[in-house]
Symmetry: C2
């Protein structure tokens, strides 16, 4: 039993945290999209202080005790108990960090983002390395405070995807490697798919026009609840279900880059948009885990966006925008080229088949980093070696190698594996979706909303109400099984390359 | 004497206020530029709560007592005493407002902005009126709490421009009307200046290109510390001297609209950028008063931007961007047309001569509103009558009439008069600047920075260190004298129309 007064205190506390969260989200979006860089130090110091205010609320001892009671209180409804549990768990993990260290670390992360961007532009890892070093040091120190018996990296994996750890990912990635590497090798032995027309010159302004006038409306991403901007590294952020922000990046030598990145990010945004609005402002109003979030973005990108049906609806308009570049190309050729498996340097540009190997590389590096087998001074060499070993490509520079991803500059470790796991969730979810509705017909007839509504009803609306395995169980009627994913890839690429 | 501990407490308090201020500024910029509207209610409620946190800090009783001591403490340096005084004054004016009422009022203002925008788009004052009614009610109530013997509108005028009141503005505007109305009438009797070529079709994308590639670099507004965006009502906002944001609005039937609005807003931004960085994050890091701020924006817009020398440097590029529209036009014709006195509906589009009459109209209406002579139900009629009386124009709709300005939706009353007063400050300041440096030569040779540096040294760098009359004294060696302004206008327009 909790008293009325306690309930009010709890509600106020939830609201206050959501206010700081909103402010921090908007400050972060501003920073990454438009903020004048010279004002960075001024903003970063104050942003860190605001993060500290949120931290103080989240780790408030009185509230911690109340949450501990609430999470197991049978008189409370399931939503409230779940929210209390998640809040309690978050507090339990962070309350051990001294506030001044937390604030300093937040300021460092803001600075590290700028340093990463500078380093990437200058193609010089040494600009970023000192920040990365310090971030890793902080991470180790903060995880140390928890006093858990699990390894640091196991804890990181669990933070991003509750229930996951090195042993489970090792098993998953062992299967991924065992089944996909031979497939990639077989493909490399046959003649490649011609995708040269995707890499003609596509002016950014025209790409943008197509995206705004055709793609976003098709995806039902409308300006009343979402907008799209441009950044070096595409992302999705939100303050509530009716306020989602995505970004993309236009490459003038690759027309599909921004197309698939847009479909991907709008997949994230649609997930947030479809969460039950009754959870707004609470800890439940968020995709339940990183992999569940990536499952939805990668489902949209790969299982919807890379199909013939999708482009039957969209290719004519694309062709009209780029008559010279795509004039003689058929939908079938375009889709085949968009799915060509070509081992490359960039994760975000990778095809569906080689993509998980980019993840394996990052996963293995992160493991070694946190288990102390390598240090930041070894990173670039290890990175380049693994790209040679797994993907057979030579990394020519830091920009397209070790500096390509934003994640580490944000202190995000243990996140990368969730991209691959999410792809596997997606495969299983799509399998069920295709039993329930005619996905191809929906895509072909510009009724993308039919697919989104299925996802809303079966996945999205839960938010954080259940954990990922339970949502998969509810959506598909089965336990999670990554064979759907590997089977799909084998089937698709055997067919595509007529192996 | 204040103790070391008190000094630290004060410094922390200043920093914390600046953190909330930054967050609120960025949230507000986001709202007005890109935020998806459906998320408005969620954001507005949380923004209001954050405003309340800032309010609590600003009116903290312990700090209020400390500030009262600090402002008169001879052991402290002048900067600190001045900052303490301004903080104390602000607290003294707001501490009387109950916090819950303050927070509710902030939320209302956020909603009112959206309602104003909706009303303007729908051309329907009745959508906005209930919000305006409530805003005025709140204002009257909050000013009532102060228990001042001055009238509410006198207090509002003083809040925007310390030292000003109705009596002083009445005297100023009496002179304005006495000297400018006859001049406008004399002009209306002679043949008008041909400005038709300014109103040909000017595609927004090309205007934007010229602004980004030529105008902004000429104005020394560089992306490291400032950016420009687009909004319905142009504004300037900032978080610190190295982070300024301006917006503009492109009208495709008026090429000069966005040009002069850009020069105006960048004038505000440059003022903030040039404030001594040692004041960063303190109450001194801001233009000292509304009129002082408008003096700098209007100085740039009118005394620099509307000169022949300015366009000798910039017209060739503009002509190159718009060869069809401006092909046969000379610099002299362009500048003459840009200065043509044509009584019109819109304040922000008004020429220098008729501009102050737009202000007189708003000033008289605000006086009547707060002295209880009219209510929000009378506003539209009174507005339209005054436009007929003072400017001889018929107001055809609400959009270009009572709904044209954003100010009242933000609860900003007593601000409009500062535009006219600021123009008068500007005239006097320019008079001195032209004695010290060769302004025309600087403009002609694309050395706008020479003018900005003069302003930095003589006006900008002070921030809030001195009040406006003192800054004018220091910059010009004289007391404020509005005859510079009226003399200038008489001389300029007599010459322009060869009266």
């Amino acid at each position: 039993m909790i008293s009325q007064e306690e309930q009010k205190k709890y509600n106020d506390w939830v609201f206050q945290i959501s206010a700081y969260q909103m402010a921090l989200a908007l400050i972060s979006i501003d920073k990454m999209t438009v903020a004048p860089p010279a004002g960075g130090p001024y903003r970063d110091a104050r942003t860190a202080w605001l993060s500290g205010e949120k931290f103080s609320l989240e780790t408030d001892p009185e509230m911690f005790r109340l949450l501990a009671r609430m999470k197991d209180d049978p008189d409370l409804d399931g939503d409230t108990r779940r929210a209390a549990f998640l809040n309690w768990q978050k507090a339990a993990r962070t309350v051990c960090i001294p506030k001044d260290e937390f604030v300093a670390s937040e300021e460092l992360l803001n600075q590290a983002y700028d340093a990463w961007l500078r380093a990437k532009m200058a193609d010089d890892y040494s600009i970023f390395r000192p920040y990365l070093e310090k971030i890793i040091e902080n991470k180790k120190r903060f995880y140390g405070f928890r006093g858990s018996s699990a390894s640091i990296y196991d804890q990181m994996l669990d933070d991003n995807e509750p229930g996951m750890n090195e042993a489970k990912y090792d098993a998953f990635f062992a299967d991924v490697k065992a089944r996909l590497i031979p497939l990639i090798q077989r493909i490399s032995a046959v003649s490649p798919i011609d995708d040269s027309f995707l890499h003609r010159f596509y002016p950014a302004a025209q790409q943008k026009k197509f995206t705004n006038e055709h793609l976003l409306p098709y995806l039902r991403y409308t300006p009343d609840w979402g907008y799209q901007n441009e950044t070096e590294h595409p992302f999705t952020y939100w303050t509530c279900e009716d306020d989602c922000r995505t970004t993309t990046k236009y490459l003038e030598n690759s027309v599909t880059s921004s197309l698939f990145s847009t479909i991907h990010e709008v997949g994230h945004a649609t997930f947030e948009h479809n969460i039950d609005p009754k959870y707004d402002g609470t800890i439940l109003a968020e995709g339940v885990s990183a992999a569940m979030h990536e499952s939805q973005s990668r489902l949209c990108e790969n299982y919807l966006g890379r199909t013939t049906a999708f482009w039957e609806a969209n290719f004519p308009a694309l062709q009209k925008e780029f008559p010279e570049q795509l004039g003689g190309v058929t939908v079938q050729q375009f889709v085949r080229a968009s799915n060509a498996a070509v081992p490359g340097l960039l994760r975000t540009e990778a095809d569906e088949l080689t993509y998980p190997l980019h993840i394996v590389i990052r996963y293995e590096i992160e493991k070694d980093l946190f288990d102390g087998r390598i240090g930041t001074e070894d990173l670039e060499q290890v990175w380049n070696e693994k790209y040679r070993e797994y993907l057979g490509v030579e990394v020519p520079n830091s920009r397209d190698g070790i500096l390509q991803d934003v994640h580490w500059s944000e202190g995000s470790f243990g996140y990368f594996p969730t991209y691959a796991l999410g792809s596997a969730y997606a495969a299983q979810i799509v399998h069920k979706m295709r039993q329930d509705i005619d996905v191809d017909e929906a895509l072909r007839s510009s009724r993308y909303d039919i697919c989104m509504n299925w996802l809303k009803e079966n996945v999205h609306h839960y938010g954080c109400r259940y954990d990922a395995p339970e949502i998969i169980r509810r959506a598909t009627g089965e336990e999670f099984n990554w064979n759907y994913y590997l089977d799909d890839l084998e089937e698709k690429y055997t067919r595509l390359y007529q192996l």
